[in-house]
């Protein structure tokens, strides 16, 4: 994070707070609702319960039931009515309870949310934010650990972002709400309550732009390109790589559509080695897109093909097998070794 937004210290009141990712989202939502009365939050169990992950905790109490809606149990209903509310002038922030439950709403997202602006030649805007807890590693049952971001990055008319840390979470949710385009906002659920990932959030700072990537670790041997929950494991892999004598550069994409790839290209031109890390399976995915673009822009710089470390092309497995499915430190470094030895 930019230096201006990070301070050391134990101050938990005032402008600088030490927050988990989940609490940072909560504070960001709160700030967005205070700034604009047209912002409303809607979803299953978001009001009285405060959300199954407590991300909307306290918002209904403070802003009222007309701004924080406990909805009936229907994702297509949540998204579809949000479209209508947006047409009416509201700025809805929808919560999909878990990634695997977004599919009943897929029709509304692709057919209406993504297309309305183009259909009306820009007269009608759809400033909807659809928040989705995504990714695995929480030992859950089926449909609770998916990574469906590729479907939405593939859909023109949508913008897609993924935060990876509390500081980004705090700012990106507000920026997404202010954005006049519909934004799919992916949140790494396994990191919501991680106290190890707590960070100081300075609410007076100036944040990075929403649709920008960031080099989170400088290096010279190879470039790791990643986002969301995989940023953490990539940084851990880079730290371990020092012992092998390899200096890995790690780039957090942050924005999945539109992607800010210039920093990635510049990095790959320096290192000659690119490895993409995602939980989402590789076949016909965002990682495929990244590989295609890198080979196009950095062709003469590539000492090895762009390699990918991803979930396998299987349905997300039962919890006891998920650690084998998810990219981990060993698999990332094994792939880096392959790239360097090419």
């Amino acid at each position: 994070m930019t230096a201006s937004a990070v301070r050391t210290g134990t101050d938990t009141t005032g402008a600088v707070q030490s927050l988990t990712l989940g609490k940072a989202l909560n504070q960001g939502l709160r700030a967005a609702m205070e700034a604009d009365p047209r912002v409303i939050v809607m979803g299953e169990d978001v009001g009285r319960l405060g959300g199954v992950f407590r991300i909307t905790d306290g918002l209904q109490k403070d802003f009222g039931e007309h701004r924080v809606l406990d909805t009936p149990l229907a994702e297509s209903g949540i998204i579809g009515t949000a479209v209508g509310l947006a047409v009416r002038g509201y700025r809805p922030v929808c919560e999909i309870q878990f990634d695997g439950f977004i599919f009943p709403g897929f029709d509304q997202i692709v057919s209406q949310v993504a297309k309305l602006h183009a259909r009306t030649r820009g007269r009608v805007r759809v400033p909807i934010v659809i928040r989705v807890p995504f990714g695995g590693g929480i030992g859950a049952v089926e449909h609770h650990s998916e990574s469906p971001e590729s479907y939405f990055a593939h859909t023109a008319g949508l913008k897609v972002v993924a935060c990876s840390n509390p500081v980004d979470a705090y700012w990106m949710i507000q920026q997404a709400i202010r954005c006049d385009d519909p934004v799919l906002f992916f949140e790494p659920k396994r990191l919501y309550h991680s106290s190890a990932l707590k960070a100081e959030v300075d609410t007076t700072a100036t944040p990075d732009p929403l649709f920008a990537s960031r080099v989170v670790r400088a290096g010279t041997s190879a470039t790791l390109i990643t986002y969301g929950p995989s940023v953490k494991v990539s940084l851990e892999a880079a730290a371990a790589a020092e012992q092998d004598g390899n200096s890995l550069e790690v780039i957090d994409l942050r924005s999945l559509s539109p992607m800010d790839l210039e920093p990635v290209f510049a990095s790959v031109r320096r290192t000659g080695h690119a490895v993409v890390v995602t939980e989402a399976p590789a076949e016909s995915s965002l990682s495929s897109e990244i590989a295609a673009r890198i080979q196009q822009e950095c062709f003469y710089s590539l000492e090895a093909p762009v390699l990918r470390v991803t979930g396998f092309d299987v349905p997300y497995p039962p919890a006891k097998l998920e650690e084998h499915f998810l990219p981990d430190l060993d698999r990332i470094l094994d792939t880096v070794d392959r790239s360097l030895a090419w």
Binding site: G139, K189, H193, A239, A240, Y300, S301, L329, D334, A341
Partner: protein
């Protein structure tokens, strides 16, 4: 026999990493039953009561109310067999050959919970591997070649992906330079290099694993040192095209031709060339040469006039080091060198090649002669290595070999002077006021006027000429 079981803090809500202990409902010494509520904890989601997994005696509580505990941390220990005889160490070791109870009487069996996020703490180091971590070469090119070969061979047979071909399809021999059906194996940066140097990868034999073409392979090919010594017509694998209508033949500019042309242009239009001429009576040199032929040291060495010329150049360069220096435009410096790497221009079937005699100034006449002989043979065979062609400081171009008198040679890029050594002819010459027939040749020195002034150039040329005219002068150096 006491059987201790340790209860690790569970993840009660899909992905929790820690919890705070609120209150214990039991204490050490209490008897507990299965599912009896023993403790209350607070997580990020809720306050939860935990039931005991076993029946038995609580022996120890490991965490206190108020503690924040990571999932997986043992929170209490229960002896599930408290009534069992607590056998003393001696007795238990006598009962069976098991490990002595002294260290073992309290061995705890930690229950393996369904691991929540906390128990599987993120790894920070790599797990140990068996054998080499990465298979050498990864087999990727072999696999690719294997698949390509499979497609080539199996036109009418359903294609099966070959996982491991028995042996990599050998990179097709450079025989006849015929184009291969598959794309040559080379990494993008090597391809770019080949493109810039005008090398056709289809004619290059890859020296890398599985026939992959390396950077060195390309630079070698660019300097014309491959085995292939086919006539220029089929060098590029492309037959020159003769057009009967125009009576013209077009040959694509590639390879060494292209590289040489680029070098010439670069030199000619960068360094301000000045050429000075000197005609020398080298009869004494030729006489010395004749007499040295019978010398034991020179019996098995071919002593050419070129060797004398080379020796003269090295000696003269000591007096005028400027001709051995380099103009470094980027650094804004002239680089004076303490060594003479003498380039000898040679014509080969592939074109102009300039191998270097390294540290020529340290070689005796005999060593120079031997090295020159070897260099020329190697160049004629097309076996000059890329290393041998780098780093020259001065070049001699022996135009005399072609029966040519002199010329205006172009300086080799990276150097500041070049000497054309002309043919040695019987020529009428004035000796002591009389016309005699002498062995005469012309020297032409082109030099870079940024580095070498007229006076220095002239001095150098005169010195070379003097040494060739009267080799005895060398004794004064």
């Amino acid at each position: 026999m006491p059987d201790f079981k340790s209860f690790p803090l569970p993840d009660t809500a899909e992905g929790l990493t820690e919890a705070e202990i609120l209150a214990w409902h039991v204490q050490p010494g209490d008897t507990v039953t299965v599912n009896q509520i023993i403790v209350e904890i607070e997580t990020a989601k809720a306050a939860v009561e935990l039931p005991c997994p076993w029946a038995g005696l609580v022996t120890e509580i490991h965490v206190a109310p108020g503690d924040t505990v990571a999932v997986g941390t043992p929170i209490l220990t229960v002896d599930v067999d408290p009534g069992g005889a607590a056998a003393p160490a001696a007795a238990s070791s006598a009962s069976n050959g098991a490990a002595p109870a002294a260290t073992d009487s309290g061995a705890e069996e930690e229950m393996k919970p369904l691991v929540g996020y906390g128990s599987k703490a993120a790894a920070v180091t790599r797990r140990p591997r068996r054998g080499p971590a990465v298979p050498a070469g990864s087999g990727a090119p072999a696999a690719q070649v294997g698949v390509q070969a499979a497609f080539d061979r199996a036109a009418s047979v359903p294609i099966e992906v070959e996982k491991e071909p028995a042996a990599p399809v050998p990179a097709t021999a450079a025989a006849a330079g015929s184009p291969r059906s598959a794309v040559p194996l080379a990494k993008p940066p090597v391809r770019k290099l080949a493109k810039d140097l005008g090398v056709d990868l289809r004619t290059v034999v890859g020296s890398g694993v599985d026939g992959v073409i390396t950077r060195d392979d390309v630079t070698t090919a660019a300097s014309g040192s491959t085995v292939d010594s086919q006539p220029a017509a089929s060098l590029n694998g492309v037959a020159p095209s003769y057009d009967a209508a125009t009576r013209e033949r077009r040959v694509t500019v590639k390879g060494v031709r292209k590289a040489t042309a680029a070098a010439m242009v670069g030199s000619a239009f960068t360094a301000p060339h000045v050429t000075e001429f000197l005609t020398v009576d080298v009869t004494p040199m030729m006489q010395l040469r004749a007499s040295l032929k019978n010398h034991p040291d020179f019996r098995d060495v071919k002593l050419t006039p070129l060797a004398f010329c080379a020796k003269a150049v090295c000696l003269a360069a000591r007096r005028t080091p400027d001709v051995n220096a380099t103009w470094d435009e980027a650094a804004g410096e002239i680089v004076y060198k303490e060594y003479v790497h003498l380039g000898i221009a040679a014509a080969t079937p592939r074109g102009l090649v300039v191998p270097k005699v390294r540290d020529a100034d340290r070689l005796s006449l005999r060593e120079l002669a031997a090295t020159l002989q070897e260099l020329t043979d190697t160049a004629r065979d097309g076996r000059t290595t890329p290393a041998a062609m780098l780093g020259g400081t001065f070049t001699i171009t022996n135009v005399g070999v072609f029966g040519v008198d002199t010329g205006t040679p172009i300086i080799n890029p990276g150097e500041s002077a070049i000497l054309a050594f002309g043919a040695i002819r019987d020529t009428p010459w004035v000796v002591d006021g009389e016309i005699k027939i002498r062995k005469v040749c012309q020297l032409a020195l082109s030099f870079d006027h940024r580095v070498v002034d007229g006076q220095q150039g002239s001095q150098f040329l005169a010195d070379v000429g003097a040494l060739l005219a009267d080799p005895g002068i060398a004794i004064t150096y």
